[in-house]
């Protein structure tokens, strides 16, 4: 377009999400819960009981907080159970509600039985369930936001589940580092460092693919949170890598920094969605280009049957 992107008085074409602060926080706690469940089971299988127990309690806590955040965001919180009156694969939020129900229910059962030291067969069944549903819990939120008309989310649909998965893994490793003697925290430390590294690469890949709309990660609240995420998680990972093996204090600070960075990352993605919904150019321009590539506007200027070119 030579006359720039046209719009109706600069008014947004789509509505920005109505989700409030609870949702980006849930992206963090849900990811932490899902990754911790897998970390706990992996630790047990590899004979690291201490790490397994810490990851179990971290995950169960995050799992317990998550539904509270989600219910608090609802316009009609007292109707939260309506999420479970259907099972619907076309709705990632519905699928996610079921995943959270099973995974969260299983991890709290497991944690409770571990604390009480009773009903071992039930505990093992719960452990299997929380482990199986952990990876989807940590990644489905990427699909949830990508399955919208919000340009910066929908166009990042290939990267978002991977990015959220990497972020979740980093936070689970980092949280375990905070509560564990460095001697037992080797795998958790590597998970935190590896997660942060993977997330950095994925964030870059996402911005490259997004092209022009990716610029929302450069300014406003999304930009601030993105820079904070990079700084905090990077510093935390560096501290864990350099001093985390020997110093308990460094492990605590490094782990906390990585967790703070991962929370900022979720906030950055959340704010980026709002910023990209608010400016009509991000909605109109790619669609206008697509329509032009496909031979003019999708709007029918002449009925196909009348132009004789149908087919």
């Amino acid at each position: 377009m030579t006359d720039g992107v046209r719009s109706y008085y600069g008014h947004p074409v789509i509505k920005e999400p109505t989700w409030t602060w609870e949702i980006p926080c849930y992206f963090f706690t849900g990811g932490l819960a899902g990754a911790s469940a897998v970390l706990s089971t992996a630790s047990k299988l590899f004979g690291n009981e201490k790490l397994s127990r810490v990851a179990l309690y971290v995950g169960a806590t995050a799992d317990a907080v998550s539904p509270g955040l989600l219910i608090s965001d609802l316009g009609r919180p007292e109707r939260f159970h309506h999420m479970l009156r259907v099972f619907k694969v076309t709705s990632p939020m519905n699928v996610g509600s079921w995943v959270l129900l099973v995974s969260g229910g299983a991890s709290s059962t497991q944690a409770l039985l571990e604390l009480l030291g009773v009903l071992k067969p039930v505990k093992i069944a719960a452990e299997v369930a929380s482990t199986v549903f952990g990876p989807p819990l940590a990644t489905y939120t990427g699909v949830l936001i990508a399955d919208t008309a919000v340009p910066v989310w929908h166009e990042a649909r290939r990267e978002l589940p991977w990015l959220f998965g990497a972020s979740a893994a980093a936070s689970a490793g980092a949280a375990a580092c905070v509560f564990l003697d460095p001697a037992d925290a080797g795998p958790a430390r590597r998970l935190a460092i590896g997660g942060v590294a993977a997330e950095g690469g994925l964030m870059r890949a996402m911005e490259l693919r997004l092209g022009e709309v990716g610029e929302v990660y450069q300014y406003g609240a999304a930009g601030s949170f993105a820079r904070a995420a990079k700084g905090l998680a990077g510093a935390g990972a560096a501290l864990l890598a350099l001093r985390g093996r020997r110093s308990r204090a460094a492990a605590v600070v490094g782990g906390a920094l990585v967790c703070a960075g991962e929370l900022c990352l979720r906030w950055s993605v959340y704010k980026a969605g709002i910023q990209s919904a608010r400016d009509p150019k991000y909605t109109v321009q790619p669609q206008r280009e697509r329509a032009s590539r496909n031979g003019g506007s999708k709007a029918t200027t002449l009925p196909a049957a009348r132009t004789g070119s149908a087919g």
Binding site: P135, T139, R157, R288, L302
Partner: protein, 288 residues
């Protein structure tokens, strides 16, 4: 993707919709008023927006018909003498009742459903205000109602002061069931809003477009008439006199769930790598 009218089997009725012909709209806003009156939509403030005669601004939870006003320095006809006067475009916008409706697909409670008339309606006794449909709609039609709740008795636990649910055009589901046309179409004094069986409306729109093009109307085009577009065609479609984005409409909307299969597959791959990656931290560098 969307559950279709066919699911109603024997109870299915002829699919109906709106053809909004903006070339005869006079901007009287009778549709906005009739909609508010019939559907008992609460008032949400009176703002002066300085957008020509538009003071409702957009479709949202409290505005289900919205008349857009665009003032242009463009010739009305392409075959005229080339004089460029003021051209005033008016368009009564409404929920598109998409064939492939993103709001309906993503609704986690089943509150949004496809009626026997092929329209898309929110069941307000089911909606829990999760807000997923709000950013899923490619047209920005649905919105959460933040006005005070109208229920007399708030719940003992977890209650909120605001309505909190999502609202939009029902294509007057109650009137349809009673055999009446929707309130906006009934009130429209120029037949800019035409209601009827969708097939019939499409034929009528094709004939109308051909006439306007023969007469050389500048920019005349049908929007969402094509059943092969990204939303499978609108149950409500339009005759516009400029490109859709000029009216605040997306030029090439695509239902977001058309990519959902690939998104789930991609997530499954991410989840698998995620699990393997976590296990991998126990193998790699296990010397420390």
């Amino acid at each position: 993707m969307s559950s279709g009218i066919a699911e109603w089997a024997d109870e299915a009725k002829t699919r109906v919709g709106f053809f909004t012909d903006t070339s005869v709209c006079i901007g009287c806003k009778a549709c906005e008023v009739a909609c508010k009156e019939w559907n008992l939509i609460p008032q949400d403030g009176q703002d002066f927006l300085a957008r020509s005669y538009d003071n409702t601004g957009e479709l949202n939870g409290e505005t289900w018909r919205h008349v857009a006003f665009i003032e242009q320095e463009k010739p009305l006809h392409t075959n005229g003498d080339g004089t460029t006067g003021l051209r005033w475009l008016m368009e009564s916008d409404v929920c598109k009742h998409c064939t492939h409706a993103a709001c309906l697909d993503v609704c986690p409670t089943g509150s949004l459903f496809r009626t026997e008339f092929g329209t898309v309606v929110v069941q307000e006794d089911i909606c829990n205000g999760c807000g997923y449909c709000v950013p899923a709609c490619p047209f920005g039609v649905l919105d959460k109602r933040h006005l005070p709740a109208t229920t007399d008795k708030p719940p003992l636990f977890l209650g909120k002061k605001e309505d909190g649910r999502v609202w939009k055009c029902t294509l007057c589901y109650d009137r349809l069931r009673g055999g009446h046309e929707p309130a906006c179409a009934k009130a429209c004094p120029t037949k800019s809003i035409q209601f009827g069986p969708l097939d019939e409306l499409r034929e009528r729109a094709d004939a109308r477009l051909e006439k306007l093009q023969d007469e050389g109307w500048n920019g005349a085009q049908l929007y969402l008439r094509d059943p092969d577009d990204g939303i499978g065609g609108g149950g409500a479609f339009f005759l516009l006199l400029d490109d859709p984005e000029v009216y605040g409409l997306p030029p090439d909307p695509v239902v977001t769930t058309s990519h959902l299969g690939a998104m789930w597959t991609n997530m499954a791959a991410a989840a698998a790598v995620f699990a393997v990656g976590i296990a991998g931290t126990f193998l790699w560098g296990s010397h420390d």
